[in-house]
C-alpha cells in the first residue's frame, strides 16, 4: 500500500541519480522553452529587449565618455608647473645654489631659470608693451624659477604640496601654481561622475520595473495554465522556473543589445574624433568597452532580469490558487 503522505514521494518514485540528471535536463529544456516562448511573439519581445538595451546603453555610453575624458585630462595634469619668484637682490651664487638644492627634491623633475634680463626680453617679445619698460629706471621683473614636478606629484593636490614646500625656502618671495582651471575641470568631472552614477541607478531601476511588469503580464496571461499546473501537483518553484528564465533572457539579450548600441556609438564617433585629434596633432583614439566591461554589462543585465522576475514571480504566483 502506498502512503499518500510519504514525506518525499518524488524520491520514492524516481531514483536519485536519475532525478539529479533530469533536474538539469529539465532546467535546460525550460531555458530553451522560455526562449521559444519569447520567439512566439517576436515583435513584443524584441520591443521590450530594445527598451532594456537602450536603458542599459545610456549609462554605458556615459561611462565611456567619462573614461575617455579622464584619459585626456590625465595627460593635462602633467602640465602643472610651479613658478617661483625669487627675492630681489640675490647674488648669482645664492641663486645657483638654490636651483641646485631644489633640483634634488624628490618631487621635482626639472628646473628652468629665467633671469631678470631674460624675463624682460621675454616680456618685450610677448607683450608688445616693450617700450614701456624703457621709461623705468630699473628692471621691475623678478627672476623666475620654473619647477616641473615629477608625474606622480603633478596632480593638483601634489603640486600644491610641492608649492607649499618650495615657499618655505628663504630665497622665494612668492610661489604660484596655475592649476585653478585644472581644479575646476576636476570638479566638473567629479560632478559628471556623480550624475552618471545617479542616472545609471535610475535607468537600472527602470530595467527592474520593465522586466517585472513584463513578467507580471506574462503570469496573468498564463493564469489558467498555472492553475492547472497547481492542480496536478506542481510546486511553486517548478512554476517559477520558466518565468525566471524569461527574465534572464530579457536581461541577457537586453545587455547584448546595449553592447551593440554602445559599440556602434563608439564606431560612429571614432571618425569624428580622429579628425579632431588630427587637427591637434594628437594620436588620441576613442576607447570602447573592454572585454571585462562587456562581461560586466551583460552579467549585470542578466542579474537584474533574474532578480526582477524572481521578485515578481514570488509575489504573483503565490496568489494564484486553483
Amino acid at each position: 500500500m502506498r502512503n499518500i503522505l510519504n514525506p518525499s514521494p518524488r524520491i520514492a518514485k524516481v531514483p536519485l541519480h536519475k532525478r539529479f540528471l533530469m533536474y538539469w535536463v529539465n532546467h535546460f529544456q525550460q531555458a530553451i522553452g522560455s526562449l521559444g516562448e519569447l520567439w512566439r511573439t517576436p515583435m513584443a519581445s524584441l520591443m521590450t529587449m530594445a527598451v532594456l538595451g537602450i536603458s542599459l546603453a545610456l549609462p554605458a555610453s556615459f561611462h565611456l565618455l567619462l573614461k575617455n575624458a579622464e584619459r585626456v585630462t590625465a595627460s593635462w595634469d602633467n602640465a602643472a608647473e610651479v613658478s617661483l619668484f625669487l627675492q630681489p637682490g640675490l647674488s648669482d651664487k645664492t641663486t645657483q645654489n638654490f636651483i641646485q638644492r631644489i633640483s634634488l627634491y624628490d618631487e621635482v623633475d626639472a628646473v628652468t631659470y629665467i633671469s631678470k634680463e631674460q624675463a624682460v626680453a621675454e616680456f618685450r617679445e610677448m607683450s608688445g608693451f616693450g617700450n614701456a619698460l624703457d621709461y623705468l629706471d630699473s628692471n621691475p621683473l623678478p627672476a623666475v624659477v620654473q619647477v616641473t614636478p615629477k608625474p606622480q606629484h603633478a596632480s593638483p593636490a601634489g603640486a600644491k604640496l610641492l608649492l607649499a614646500k618650495l615657499q618655505q625656502e628663504k630665497e622665494v618671495e612668492q610661489g604660484k601654481l596655475d592649476i585653478e582651471w585644472l581644479e575646476r575641470l576636476h570638479s566638473i568631472i567629479n560632478l559628471a561622475v556623480d550624475s552618471v552614477v545617479a542616472i545609471a541607478f535610475l535607468l537600472l531601476a527602470s530595467v527592474l520595473l520593465i522586466v517585472g511588469n513584463t513578467i507580471r503580464l506574462n503570469i496573468l496571461n498564463r493564469r489558467s495554465e498555472i492553475e492547472v499546473m497547481k492542480l496536478v501537483g506542481a510546486t511553486d518553484s517548478f512554476i517559477h522556473r520558466p518565468f525566471l528564465y524569461t527574465g534572464l533572457w530579457y536581461g541577457l539579450i537586453g545587455g547584448l543589445i546595449a553592447w551593440v548600441l554602445t559599440s556602434s556609438l563608439v564606431l560612429w564617433m571614432e571618425s569624428a574624433v580622429i579628425k579632431v585629434a588630427g587637427l591637434y596633432q594628437s594620436d588620441f583614439r576613442l576607447l570602447g568597452l573592454s572585454f571585462s566591461e562587456f562581461l560586466f554589462m551583460v552579467g549585470l543585465a542578466s542579474l537584474l532580469g533574474l532578480i526582477s522576475s524572481f521578485v515578481t514571480v514570488k509575489r504573483h504566483i503565490h496568489l494564484i490558487e486553483p
Binding site: R2, I4, K13, N26, K230, L231, V232, G233, T235, P322
Partner: protein
Amino acid sequence: MIKFEQVSKVYSGSHQALQKVDFHLKQGEMAFLTGHSGAGKSTLLKLISLLERPSDGKIFLNGNDISRVSRRHVPYLRRHIGIIFQDHRLLMDKTVFENVALPLVIEGYGRNEIERRVMAALDKVGLSDKAFCIPVHLSGGEQQRVGIARAVVNKPPLLLADEPTGNLDPKLSTEILKLFEAFNSVGVSVLIATHDLGLIAKMRYRTLTLKNGKMSSDGLLGEGHA
C-alpha cells in the same frame, strides 16, 4: 483511504457549505457523492484535494491528518490524487500528449518513461490516435477522457471526479463510468460527485447523499432512506 470526522466548511460571507460531515471511504472502494445543486459536493472534493481547508473537523488520507499539512507539502499530496473536473481544465494550446504528460513532467520523469506512460494512459481511455491533436478539435466526451488520462497517468491510489459526465449524453456517460470501474477494479479508490441519479441507479454502488451541507444518507441508493 478517506475519512471525514465532524468536518464543517464555512465560506467567508456565506452560510455553512458543509456541516459536521462524517464518512469513511475504504482503500479500493468506489462510491458516488450526490445531492442537489449547492449541497456541498464540490466543496467536499475540494477539501480532500486541499483546494479548500476545512473550518472545523478532521480529514484523514490514509490515516494521516491533512488538515494541518503545510502549504509547501500540498503539491506533493496532490500528486497522489487524480482529479477530474466537469470542465476538464485542459490546456487548450497544448496537444493531448502534452496535457496528459504534465503530471509526469512535474514529477521529473525522463522522456522515454513519459512517452511510455502517456501512451499507456491514452490507450486505456481509447485516445491513442488523438495524441497529437489539440483539445479544441476533440468532442466533449473525448476531452473528458483526456482529463481522465491526465488524472491516472501517474497511477494515483485515489481518483476524485466532480460531475465528470455533466455535459455528456447518457451513452457517453456510461462509457466514462465504465472507465472508472476499470480503474477501481485494479485497486484505485474512486469518489465521483454527480447529481445524475439515473446513472447512479444503473451502477449500484455505495452512494453518499448530501443535503444542505449535511450527510443525509450513506449506502446503496434506496437503502439509505429505509
